[in-house]
């Protein structure tokens, strides 16, 4: 069974989290993400969950990590300024392999910037914002339906790979209302349990240790320091650090194909748009208006780990065009994976590229 609603993206995100079994939200309201906290505050207690309005974003992400270590599906939602404050503990979540979901409804930055306007300015921050080497997963919805579906998916990926997982949305999809179908249940994959006789940070070939949250009966020591398979600090042995951090990166990067989620339209095209999030809708509009098979479109729903193999599907590509709501962030990632020219179509200030703007660039590059 399912129900159909006309709903705001932020509300759909909260519904997706609840349906995926999220039972903890720790957050500090910030525009334009506030409706997520509001919805969770109203609905989580009725679902047997816990909502805590924290004193700031440092505490919010810390509470989420703590809740995740009790075995709860846990999340927070924020925007640029709060996201920046979360960075240190996002590294802690990566180092301790804590499954959790962080929603960023992106707005114009830097600093407090444009609280009520859309941007995609935090796309590199979600990958590299905390110190040290690590890998995470980032997902980019372009509709209200995807605010639901991909939030639910984020919880699954977070649990499967034991990584902090980001829903990198923005003010446009956060605040628009569209029809959305809400199923009663979604498929839920929980982290694999810690096998008898295994150490808490001992992983098999996939690099993902079994998870023994507090209260599961196993003794686990959790630390942000470099640690051995028992979880005990081992901060000076170069090999211990190398083994741990390479595994943290490899468990995500080696699963790029498994994690990848993208759409390919007109793979034989010579001119190819590469998009994620709302600019994809402007590209789709241009393609529908022009009914032109010589334009290709790669739309990424998962941007990190970056699926560079998706670019190879456009065997005839002469040029890649990349509209983003920033001054050119993910375009760098595309540029380093292809030999063809990659043209950035940046836009900042809070508005989506219009079809006419994209057509202008399109005409100039074919």
């Amino acid at each position: 069974m399912s129900r159909v609603e006309f709903m705001q993206g932020n509300t759909a995100c909260a519904e997706g989290a609840l349906t995926a079994g999220c039972r903890f939200f720790g957050g500090y309201p910030i525009t334009p993400s506030t409706e997520i906290a509001e919805t969770m505050a109203r609905k989580l207690p009725k679902a047997g969950g816990v909502f805590i309005s924290m004193e700031d974003e440092l505490a919010s992400i810390a509470a989420v990590i703590g809740a995740a270590w009790t075995g709860a599906r846990a999340m927070t939602a924020t925007s640029g300024p709060g996201f920046s404050l979360m960075m240190e503990n996002i590294g802690y979540a990566a180092m301790t392999e804590t499954p959790c979901v962080i929603v960023n409804i992106q707005r114009g930055g830097p600093s407090t910037g444009q609280p009520t306007r859309a941007a995609q300015g935090d796309m590199l921050q979600c990958r590299f914002g905390s110190h040290g080497d690590y890998s995470t997963i980032a997902i980019t919805p372009n509709s209200v339906q995807e605010m639901f579906d991909l939030t639910a998916k984020a919880f699954d990926l977070a649990d499967r790979f034991r990584v902090p997982t980001f829903l990198m949305a923005d003010e446009i999809v956060g605040h628009m209302r569209e029809r959305v179908t809400i199923p009663d249940a979604v498929e839920v994959t929980r982290p694999g349990p810690l096998a008898e006789g295994s150490l808490p940070f001992e992983a098999g070939d996939d690099g993902i240790p079994g998870f023994a949250p507090f209260g599961s009966g196993r003794s686990v020591h959790v630390t942000g320091l470099t640690h051995d398979e028992r979880g005990y600090p081992d901060t000076t042995d170069p090999e211990a650090h190398d083994r741990l951090v390479r595994r943290l990166v490899a468990k995500v990067e080696s699963a790029r194909r498994e994690i990848a989620d993208y759409e390919v339209v007109n793979p034989d095209a010579e001119t190819v748009f590469v998009t994620y999030g709302p600019p994809s809708r402007t590209v789709q509009q241009v393609m529908r208006d022009r009914r032109d098979d010589s334009i290709g479109h790669l739309r990424l729903r998962v941007v990190w780990p970056f699926p560079e193999f998706a670019l190879q599907e456009f065997g005839n590509a002469q040029v890649f065009l990349m509209p983003e709501l920033n001054m050119g962030q993910m375009v760098r990632e595309v540029q380093r994976h292809v030999d063809q020219p990659v043209v950035s179509i940046p836009k900042i200030g809070g508005e989506l590229q219009t079809p006419a703007e994209l057509v202008q660039v399109l005409e100039a590059h074919r």
Partner: protein, 179 residues
């Protein structure tokens, strides 16, 4: 066919709610596609408020409103900020007691606030009167759909008042737009 509907007035009139109700009517009860957006800024009660809806028979890709073909304007400031540049073949419904200016496009003058205050006894349903007139004047959604969407969206206990306001809007729309 793609329609772009823009609502504007002052904060507190239910401008955004009007846009949500229209989107809901189209997307849930008329089998169409709808995207509702709004100017989301620091405007407070009394400031110019604006909400808009794209309605189409096919999926809506580009979600923003570029050039509305339908306007519902409920304040002079709203007209000046969001209505004055209406294209010539647009239709504009305006609250005739609150908006002094008149546009170059086709215009339906609806005394919605006066009607809500007078006949209906509650000024707060003026936006629903406008909604009724909008549906009559443009047919952008069906009467059945808008009725259901209004009933979904108003507080319990006010259904009868709101339906009365909507029906009054249907009548005023017919009269003002010479249908």
């Amino acid at each position: 066919m793609r329609h772009e509907v823009r609502f504007s007035g002052y904060g507190g009139q239910g401008i955004i709610l009007s846009a949500v109700i229209l989107g809901r009517a189209a997307a849930l009860y008329d089998g169409k596609y709808a995207v509702q957006t709004q100017v989301y800024g620091p405007e407070a009660r009394g400031g110019a408020s604006m909400g808009q809806v794209v309605i189409d028979d096919e999926p809506i890709l580009y979600p923003e409103v570029a050039e509305p073909d339908i306007f519902v304007i409920m304040s002079q400031q709203g007209f000046e900020k969001y209505g004055v540049l209406a294209r010539e073949d647009a239709v504009m419904l305006l609250d005739s007691d609150l908006v002094r200016s008149r546009p170059a496009c086709r215009c339906c003058e609806i005394p919605a606030t006066a009607e809500a205050k007078g006949t209906l006894g509650r000024e707060i349903v003026a936006n629903i009167v406008m909604m009724g007139a909008l549906v009559t004047a443009t047919g952008v959604v069906s009467r059945e759909a808008i009725e259901r969407a209004v009933l979904d969206s108003v507080p319990r206990g006010t259904e009868e008042l709101n339906l009365k306001a909507l029906k009054r809007g249907f009548e005023l729309g017919e009269r003002a737009c010479n249908l």
